[in-house]
């Protein structure tokens, strides 16, 4: 049984946002509840295991847990609860709803370069046209097309005047 510490705990790429984390934790809690009920149920009684998501399965597999083990489930729930409270979160706003592939690529880079347990909060801001706006705990990064236009306003003005003249 591999019991990773909290710092080494790996979040799967399919678990991107804090909403995904909350959902996964609920699934895990449901599995744990089912297991608890199954242990007190009479032998031979038919029971239906709750469906688990791909993210939960991937997370269990990546971190070497066994959901049949009560200790693993308890430990896993504890870690997820801690992550839910304290995992570093970045808020990213896009002009359109980002596809899963794009989010996977972004979260891969962020977890490799910034923090391995980083979570995203995705927002929509259609007025930015293209690019994105990133907000960390106390900083604001505008990578939108609008900001690029503002940054290059003098160049635009120069080109415009050249075109007019």
């Amino acid at each position: 049984m591999a019991h990773d510490t909290k710092a080494e705990f790996q979040l799967p790429l399919s678990l991107v946002t804090i909403v995904d984390l909350s959902r996964t934790r609920r699934e895990l809690a449901a599995v744990d509840e089912f297991m608890l009920q199954a242990s007190v149920r009479k032998t031979g009684a038919r029971a239906q295991l709750p469906k688990t998501s791909h993210a939960l399965e991937e997370m269990v597999r990546a971190n070497g847990y066994n959901l049949l083990e009560a200790n693993d489930r308890t430990h896993l729930i504890e870690i997820l609860t801690q992550l839910q409270k304290k995992a570093p979160t970045i808020h990213m706003s896009f002009a359109v709803d980002p596809p899963a592939a794009a989010l996977n690529r972004l979260i891969t880079w962020l977890r490799q370069e910034i923090h391995p347990q980083l979570l995203l909060q995705v927002g929509l801001q259609p007025s930015i046209a293209a690019g994105c706006i990133v907000r960390t705990g106390s900083k604001y990064f505008d990578f939108s097309l609008r900001k690029h236009f503002e940054t290059n306003e003098k160049l635009l003005l120069t080109k415009l005047h050249e075109g007019v003249v």
Partner: protein
């Protein structure tokens, strides 16, 4: 005009005098054939009385002769003659009167024509003068109005030009100040639904890479 009326009245008086004179003569002939003559007063009354008696005798004889001569046919003849003479005089004078009347009427017509022409000419002259004055006044007024309009037009033109220049400057300034927003809005409206996030990932990752240090510091400080 006054002279012509005096002439007409004079002719009428002359004709009336002639007519009445003739009438008087005829009446004297007709109604006073036996008027006694005044006898001369003599010194001797007796002689006179005798003479009167003889005269009376003669008169009676003469009366008889006169009645014999101036009998009714002769008197009727005289009346007829007098009537004819009177009619002749009346006709002649009527002709003269008619000629005079025609002449007077002609003169009166000429006079009236002249007077009317002169009056009309004077009135037309005054009317023309009034019209000319009114025309001059109207021309002056129009000229002043044109001048005022021209001045107003120049003022309005200048104001409009200034306002256009000001508005142009304001629009250019506004455009330049908000150009990034305008272009962004244009891009969004033109191709906003065609921009795929996957195509932007490289740029986003480049931006993240550029700001990696700041993000990392903020995350570590937050954690």
């Amino acid at each position: 005009m006054g002279t012509t009326v005096v002439h007409i009245v004079g002719y009428i008086l002359i004709v009336s005098a002639i007519v009445f004179g003739a009438l008087g003569a005829i009446l004297a002939l007709l109604h006073d054939p036996h008027k006694p003559k005044k006898s001369a007063k003599g010194s001797a009354k007796a002689a006179a009385e005798s003479q009167a008696e003889s005269s009376q005798a003669y008169s009676e004889v003469a009366e008889k002769d006169v009645e014999h001569i101036f009998n009714n046919e002769f008197r009727e003849e005289l009346r007829n003659r007098g009537r004819l003479h009177f009619e002749k005089i009346i006709g002649e004078n009527a002709m003269f009167l008619q000629q005079d009347l025609r002449l007077t009427t002609s003169q009166l017509n000429d006079y009236m024509k002249q007077e009317i022409t002169r009056t009309l000419k004077d009135e037309f002259g005054k009317y023309e003068e009034s019209i000319m004055d009114a025309k001059q006044l109207a021309i002056d007024s129009i000229s002043k109005t044109q001048q005022a309009i021209e001045e107003q037009r120049e003022i309005l033109g200048k104001q409009l030009k200034d306002q256009v220049a000001s508005e142009k400057l304001r629009l250019i300034t506004h455009f330049e100040q908000n150009m990034a927003e305008i272009i962004n809005h244009y891009v969004l409206a033109a191709i906003g639904d065609q921009i795929d996030l996957s195509d932007q990932l490289e740029y986003i990752l480049n931006d993240l890479e550029t700001n990696k240090k700041a993000i990392l510091e903020d995350i570590q400080n937050g954690a």
